[in-house]
């Protein structure tokens, strides 16, 4: 099955600063994929590369098996909503629909109209006078009405109030249920991602720290609490992601495929937010971890 997004050693440099480095991913299709990381980590860079707004400095990227934005045909299959959802502020919402219709052969105008009706928008209104939440909804409508196979959303809810955020995600999930479109969305809010995503990529300091299906990630990470121990004394099949200690006690966040049999440990599940934070706190130069091989040296 062709991955939705496949990158090999992808990197992007601006002057002397690498916004993204050594990124190797295979994002599966048909998922809702969350891309999480602190601001400046490279999320926008990665997504911009995926839609062809940027071109790589090193490595390569293919989206749905083709080079991003190389042909109109490839572009028809990908819908994009940029951060801060740029719309033409002097054009009305209705004009934006006409824009979509003229710029996309696969445009489904009925779908677009239905969505906007649900949003209770006056389509004669200029886009510049819409609220942030309304603009995000219009941008999402534009992206979905071209009937893409993949939706790429760059922090679509970052600047929205909680209600607008919730409404956006509701609409997005409804779209996913309806059309089975794949989604890649970036955010720095883990709570939102936990609700809607089933696949996660953690991007910190322009590198991928961990990626995989959320269920599997949660199942394979555990907190171990017990008497103080040296991290390197743990068995090889337990990879230490984070370690902290007091004079008597050690707490480890480990990643393992196997059951933890040592009775000295109190074993607890790890919440997604804690998991992400632990990876975010890791040293910036930590090597990437692949889901399939937990035996890799950290």
């Amino acid at each position: 099955m062709t991955p939705a997004v496949e990158t090999t050693g992808l990197g992007k440099r601006y002057g002397r600063h690498w916004a993204l480095s050594d990124c190797t991913l295979a994002i599966p299709t048909g998922r809702v994929v969350g891309l999480v990381g602190p601001n400046g980590a490279g999320k926008t860079t990665l997504l911009s590369l995926a839609v062809g707004l940027l071109s790589p400095t090193s490595g390569s990227i293919t989206v749905l098996g083709a080079e991003p934005a190389a042909t109109g045909r490839q572009m028809e299959r990908v819908g994009f909503v940029a951060q801060d959802t740029q719309l033409y502020s002097t054009l009305s919402v209705a004009d934006h629909l006409r824009f979509g219709a003229h710029m996309n052969p696969g445009w489904d105008n009925d779908l677009a109209q239905r969505r906007l009706e649900q949003l209770d928008l006056d389509i004669g209104q200029r886009a510049g006078s819409l609220s942030g939440g309304q603009r995000a909804q219009v941008a999402l409508t534009l992206a979905i009405a071209k009937r893409p196979e993949l939706l790429i959303l760059d922090e679509p809810v970052a600047s929205l109030d909680p209600l607008a955020r919730r409404e956006f995600l509701q609409v997005l999930m409804e779209i996913v249920a309806e059309s089975e479109v794949g989604v890649v969305l970036s955010s720095h809010l883990v709570a939102d991602l936990e609700r809607v995503c089933d696949y996660l990529i953690v991007l910190v300091s322009s590198r991928v720290q961990v990626d995989g299906e959320i269920e599997k990630l949660l199942a394979s990470h555990r907190h171990l609490i017990g008497p103080r121990r040296d991290p390197s004394s743990l068995p090889k099949n337990q990879q230490v992601i984070e370690a902290s200690e007091t004079d008597r006690q050690s707490t480890f966040l480990v990643r393992t495929e196997d059951p933890i049999l040592d009775p000295a440990w109190t074993v607890e599940e790890v919440g997604l937010e804690d998991l992400v934070l632990a990876y975010m706190r890791r040293a910036p130069l930590a090597k990437r971890v692949r889901l399939a091989s937990p035996d890799v040296e950290p």
């Binding site: 609409v171 996913v176 609700r195 599997k216 495929e257 059951p259 933890i260 919440g271």
Partner: protein, 130 residues
């Protein structure tokens, strides 16, 4: 038609919460045989959760023979839960009562009993870590 809600702080995964809420509704008679469950689309539009979560919950319920999917139409309740399932497990309840007496005699207070139970419960569940 029932409505689901999500408790994000309970530590219970969303799909299990849905399964529990369906079972609870069945027990309380809010859902009866032949009733339709909300469509996946309706659920996610209200809760803003991944459709796969809902699908997983419905599949689980189907596995327990509580609901059945009719393709193109929806998911319907096939069996009501009787009101006294717990009554069937009297021997287990009896065992548990005896254990509790033993624990108290050993000097454990309520919290320690709960901690011991949860710890044992979890680590035996752990034995099946994926």
């Amino acid at each position: 038609m029932i409505e689901f809600h999500l408790n994000t702080r309970s530590g219970v995964s969303p799909y299990l919460q849905i399964v529990h809420q369906v079972r609870q509704a069945l027990r309380l008679g809010l859902l009866r045989e032949g009733d339709q469950l909300p469509t996946v689309k309706e659920v996610v539009a209200r809760l803003a959760i991944n459709p796969n979560t809902v699908l997983k919950a419905y599949r689980e319920l189907e596995h327990e023979d509580l609901v059945g999917a009719r393709p193109g139409i929806g998911t319907f309740v096939t069996k009501a839960l009787s009101d006294a399932p717990l009554a069937e497990f009297r021997p287990l309840r009896h065992d548990l009562q005896r254990w509790l007496v033993k624990a108290r005699r050993a000097g454990l207070d309520d919290e320690s009993i709960e901690a011991l139970f949860l710890d044992t419960f979890r680590s035996s569940a752990e034995a099946g870590v994926a």
